[in-house]
């Protein structure tokens, strides 16, 4: 279940809103924007991430949890924070929490597959979607950030709370497993 990256993964640093690093990127900001503006700017990306990671059925609840956590911590945010990286870190934590809850519930009924609907009705390969749900949480999040949403590794690292190297390793390992799984289904 653990990641086999080329380098040992540093201790997992959970990016809670309270503990999130704020890195100066947009220095022109002098004050944090009204939360309504922040929500409007990031709602779509957060939703896309959640739908692709835990399925559309679970995305709504995780969306509310993500923005409630963000709202709670928002007044203490530094004005020069990278807001996108910050909210994606919170969304990643919520998606991983969801994954752990599902895993715990699934133990006694291991034969029953998780019934998360794919992020969309058509287009998505059901075999791939099943394989994505099999990935360890960190690899799943890294793959979605990097290969589904096309985010740069610096932001993937910030979102999943690892170094950039570990983010690359997780995305690489995850993609490798998915490729193997996809080949498997095509071969049948």
């Amino acid at each position: 279940m653990t990641t086999q990256g080329p380098k040992p993964r540093p201790p997992r640093r959970r990016l809670t809103p309270e503990g999130s690093r704020a890195f100066p990127e947009r220095m022109e900001r002098t004050a944090i924007p009204p939360f309504s503006v922040f929500l409007e700017e990031h709602r779509s990306l957060v939703y896309r991430f959640l739908a692709a990671t835990i399925g559309r059925d679970n995305a709504d609840d995780a969306f509310q949890e993500t923005f409630l956590s963000a709202l709670k911590a928002y007044p203490r945010l530094r004005p020069d924070s990278n807001l996108r990286a910050w909210v994606m870190a919170i969304a990643t934590n919520k998606a991983m929490d969801h994954g752990r809850r599902v895993q715990r519930r699934a133990v006694p009924v291991a034969e029953v597959p998780e019934r998360a609907a794919p992020p969309q009705d058509d287009g998505a390969d059901p075999g791939l979607w099943a394989a994505v749900r099999e990935l360890p949480p960190l690899q799943r999040a890294a793959v979605v950030h990097r290969y589904v949403l096309d985010l740069p590794y610096a932001e993937v690292a910030e979102a999943i709370g690892t170094s950039e190297e570990a983010a690359r390793a997780n995305a690489y390992e995850g993609r490798k497993k998915l490729r193997a799984a996809l080949k498997g289904t095509e071969g049948r």
Binding site: A31, R43, D60, L71
Partner: protein, 202 residues
């Protein structure tokens, strides 16, 4: 580009509609969680859409359509709290009261006021102004006196000019001692319209 990358891209769905619905539902969740510090909404009026903003303490801001909404929200975020969300439900009652006022069916507003955006003499002038009833008028000198300094009528004029809650805090009911209408930040035609609505002007 291998199969896997294309297949992964297809997991990305267009989330415009579901995320808009989720964002609209979020204001209620925030309110229930006690995390909504500033709720805002718009209400139609004869002047165009008015922006209303309220805290738990009361109405904190009313902006005419010529004021950019973004600027008003930014000011609220900086001066009151950045926990600002659009929540028509939180302002339902006040929106109804304003509708009734513009329809000529309401002569006073039942709402508490949050004076967070003003201080000192300005707040005292506006508090005095808030007590001037519908259909009556007063003078700059009089509200200056009620605020503690009847010679400061020019400062009182400035205070009224910076009224963050026009209409509900009726600065349009304050006129020159000589009988002139005086000024109005929202434009003198608006002052005349409101005084006509209240039966002060023909």
């Amino acid at each position: 580009m291998t199969n896997i990358d294309a297949a992964l891209r297809r997991l990305d769905q267009d989330a415009e509609d579901p995320s808009r619905q989720a964002a609209a539902a979020f204001a209620d969740a925030a309110r229930t969680a006690g995390l909504l510090d500033v709720a805002y909404a718009t209400v139609d009026s004869p002047f165009g859409p008015l922006l209303l903003a309220a805290t738990r303490r009361g109405l904190v801001r009313l902006a005419y359509p010529n004021e950019p909404v973004d600027d008003a929200l930014q000011e609220l975020a900086a001066e009151v709290s950045p926990r600002v969300l659009e929540s028509p439900a939180a302002l339902d009652d006040l929106r109804r009261q304003l509708d009734e006022y513009f329809d000529g069916g309401r002569s006073r507003f039942d709402t508490r006021i949050d004076w967070s955006l003003t201080k000192g003499f300005t707040t005292r002038v506006l508090r005095a102004t808030a007590r001037v009833p519908f259909g009556r008028v007063t003078t700059y000198r009089e509200v200056a006196g009620k605020a503690g300094n009847d010679r400061a009528y020019r400062a009182a004029g400035n205070a009224l000019g910076s009224n963050p809650i026009p209409i509900v805090v009726p600065c349009h009911r304050v006129l020159h001692s000589g009988g002139g209408l005086g000024g109005y930040t929202g434009g003198l035609d608006r002052k005349e319209f409101l005084l006509r609505l209240e039966g002060v002007l023909d």
